[in-house]
Symmetry: C2
C-alpha cells in the first residue's frame, strides 16, 4: 500500500510492469509502506537523479529499478528482491533456504531476459519493427525450446515440496517472482504457454496460491497494477507466438 | 587449490572458462579446497547427473555451474558467488556491503549475457556461422554503445572509494567477477575495450589489484586457468569488434 510515511521509495518507469513489478509484488505481499516515485508527477526526473547516484553521495545504478531504504539506494532487481525478502520474512528460515530462493529468482530473471530479447534481439535502441526478422527467428527458438525447458524446470523444482510454494506452504519472494514470470509468459505467448503447461501439475497451484495471498489479491485488483502492454518486457505480438 | 579432501565440488563444462570461472576465481582467491569435477575423466556425465538433481534427492538445476557444499547443491552463478563470498570473508562487513557487492555482481552478469549474445543473438542451438548477420548487428550496438556504458558505470562505481576495490582496500567477490568480465571484454573486443577504458582511472587499478591477490596470481599462472577460446562466452571474432 502507498502511504504518507513510507519505509521505501521505488524508482521505476511509470508505464510498464517491467522489472519493477517484481519489487512491487513483494512490497504489496508484505504490506510494506512505499512510494512508487516513478509514477508521481516528477517521476522521470526523479528516476534520472537516483540513477546518477543521489547527488554524488552514493554510487550510481546502472538501470532501474532502484529502491531507497534507510537513506541508501539499492539496484538490480534480484538484489532488491533479496533485501526485501529477508526483511519481510519472505526468504525462508535458513541460509540454505535463502540460496534456494535466490537460485529460483535468478533463473526467473534468465527467462525474463530471453523473453525480452524475443522482440529486441539486436538492440534496445531500435524499434521492434526494425528488427522483426531477427525477432521472428529468436522467438521461434524461445517458444519451441526455451519456454518448455524453463516451464518444465520450474514445475519440477516445485515438485520437491508438498507445495504450493518453493519452500512448501511458506511463501517466499521467489514464488512471487515466478508467479509474475508465468503471468507474463501467459500474456505474451498464450499458445506456447498453454502447450508447455498443460501437463504440469505444480505451476497452476503456484499461480493460484500466489494470487490468493491477501496483499497480492488486493493489489492485482487495484489500479496500482499496471496492465501488461506492448511497451513492456512481455509483449503480445501474435506473430511471435506458436500458432494455435 | 585442488586437494584430496575438498570442501566443495564444482560442476562446470571442462573446456571453457564460461560462468564457472567466476566461481573458480573465488575458490582460488580464498584458498579453498575444491574438486573441479567437470574436468575429471567422467566430468560430463557427472555434470548431467548433478543437473538432474542428485538422484531425485534435491531439486534440479537449470544449468551449470553447480556447486556442491555440505551435501547440498547450489546453482546460478551469482548465487554460488554470494554463498562463497559470505563464507570466505569476501562479501564486506555489513548487509549494506553485501547488497552492494551483489548489485555489482548482477550488473557484471548483465554485461556478460550481452557479450554472449553478440555471437549468439538468435539461438544457442545454432552455430555462430548460421547467425552471423544478426550477430554483426547486435555486436555493433554492443561495442559502440553498451561496452562504453557498462565500462563507464563500473569505473564510476569504483570512484566512490579510495580503491582499488569496490569496498576500498578490502577485496570482495564482486571485484573478482568484475576483473573476469574486464579480462573477457579485453580478449573478445580489444579495440572497443581499449577505447572505452583509455580515459578511465579506476579500472586499471582494479585489474592490477585483483591480479596481484596471492591466490589469484598463482591461479592465473597455473594450468587450472583455461585460456580464453572461441567456444566460450568471450570469443575473439575480429569482425565483431570495432575496427582499429
Amino acid at each position: 500500500m502507498a502511504t504518507n510515511t513510507p519505509d521505501y521509495e521505488l524508482y521505476y518507469w511509470p508505464t510498464i510492469q517491467g522489472r519493477g513489478e517484481f519489487v512491487r509484488l513483494i512490497l504489496e505481499a508484505a504490506g510494506a509502506a512505499y512510494r512508487d516515485v516513478g509514477r508521481e508527477p516528477d517521476g522521470p526526473a526523479a528516476i534520472q537523479e537516483v540513477l546518477e547516484g543521489l547527488e554524488g553521495r552514493q554510487p550510481p545504478a546502472f538501470a532501474p529499478p532502484v529502491l531507497k531504504a534507510d537513506g541508501a539506494t539499492y539496484a538490480q532487481t534480484a538484489n532488491i528482491c533479496q533485501l526485501l525478502g529477508r526483511r519481510h520474512g519472505l526468504a525462508g528460515q535458513s541460509d540454505r533456504d535463502l540460496y534456494r530462493v535466490n537460485q529460483l529468482q535468478l533463473t526467473v530473471h534468465d527467462c525474463l531476459t530471453e523473453a525480452h530479447d524475443t522482440h529486441h534481439p539486436i538492440s534496445v535502441a531500435e524499434y521492434y519493427e526494425d528488427q522483426r526478422e531477427a525477432a521472428a527467428r529468436r522467438a521461434a527458438f524461445f517458444v519451441e525450446e526455451r519456454i518448455p525447458k524453463f516451464v518444465g524446470h520450474f514445475d519440477e523444482v516445485l515438485s520437491y515440496t508438498d507445495g504450493p510454494f518453493l519452500l512448501g506452504d511458506s511463501l517466499s519472494y521467489g514464488d512471487l517472482s515466478l508467479f509474475q514470470l508465468l503471468e507474463g509468459l501467459n500474456y505474451a505467448f498464450p499458445e506456447a504457454f498453454r502447450r508447455a503447461t498443460e501437463a504440469r501439475d505444480h505451476l497452476p497451484a503456484l499461480r493460484a496460491g500466489v494470487a490468493d495471498v491477501e496483499g497480492v489479491a488486493e493489489y492485482l485488483e487495484s489500479d496500482r497494477r499496471i496492465p501488461f502492454n506492448e511497451k513492456g518486457i512481455f509483449r503480445h505480438y501474435p506473430e511471435l507466438d506458436l500458432s494455435g
